[in-house]
Subunit: 181 residues, 2 copies
């Protein structure tokens, strides 16, 4: 076993994850009782329903708009700040939200592939309003990690619903102690 | 928002999660490049491939065998210890392993439903070799949380592949610091 499996960014590998996230989350969440869909980790934390709204918002205003900004404007002006908040989901059902996330992701991955990015393009720079200079490759790697961060958040939030219900077994279930507030 | 969304065990809610985990993991993992499937968090940690082997082993020797043990023997003798290790997967492909997990889970959920458990049954006790007295309801709640624990593990392990690739953005991506070793 390798001591570390950290990798450099690879567009094909990244796309393979990006195109699987919506179907994985739909398979996990669609049709689940509200007990799970509306659970949170406590005040000020997000439910699985909220997380899907956030992922939709990021598809709309974050990833591909910033990728285009890097290719068109470079670091001459910073990105628009991205509010890391829940998008307006109003009264839409979870099934509708999951379908919207899936559709936007398909459109965005198709647009990303159509850019035919070269290794040189992945080194092109933009200016983040807080973080300073970043590359297009770093943006796209962040898109992947952001997906996985929110998959962990959803599964962790669901797990914690049964923190008490597991009784003595909770000592074996490390997820119940992740991000304890 | 509620301060807490912890719930008592509810059989229908639990089954709803248990029957979705295999398809969610198949949608996430099937066909992914080895970069993701064989990634680990470092020496002594599991890859997504290893985790699927562990989930298969638990379907075979842990959950339903212990549920039957509680109903048949009660706390008169302890459960067989369950080695929390990776099952023998040999050279099987990830697709084969995911199919096996899905099949075993379907069989186990069908057997669970066929038990027609009452609220009284859920209070029935068994003896865990390390934890002492536990109830059937606690066992079944643990099954659900164990699923979600390993979903977080898989997504976290995949995220960490791009720890360096995200560059300055890593400060926003909390999952990269979960379970740091």
């Amino acid at each position: 076993m390798m001591a570390s499996t950290r990798r450099n960014f690879h567009l094909g590998d990244a796309v393979a994850v990006l195109e699987r996230t919506p179907s994985s989350l739909s398979a996990l969440l669609e049709g689940l009782p509200e007990t799970w869909v509306r659970a949170t980790e406590g005040d000020g934390t997000w439910s699985p329903y909220d997380v899907i709204g956030h992922l939709i918002e990021a598809e709309r205003v974050n990833w591909m708009p910033r990728a285009r900004h890097i290719l068109e404007a470079g670091p001459t002006r910073p990105f628009e700040p991205f509010a890391r908040a829940v998008g307006e989901s109003g009264s839409r059902s979870l099934a509708e939200q999951l379908a919207t996330f899936g559709r936007l992701r398909r459109e965005n991955v198709a647009a990303l592939k159509a850019m035919n990015l070269t290794d040189g393009d992945l080194e092109r720079r933009g200016r983040h309003p807080e973080l300073g200079d970043v590359t297009l490759g770093q943006l796209l790697a962040t898109w992947v990690v952001h997906d996985m961060d929110h998959v962990t958040q959803i599964a962790r939030t669901m797990a914690k619903v049964y923190t008490d219900a597991t009784g003595p077994w909770n000592v074996y279930l490390s997820v119940l102690r992740d991000r304890l507030r």
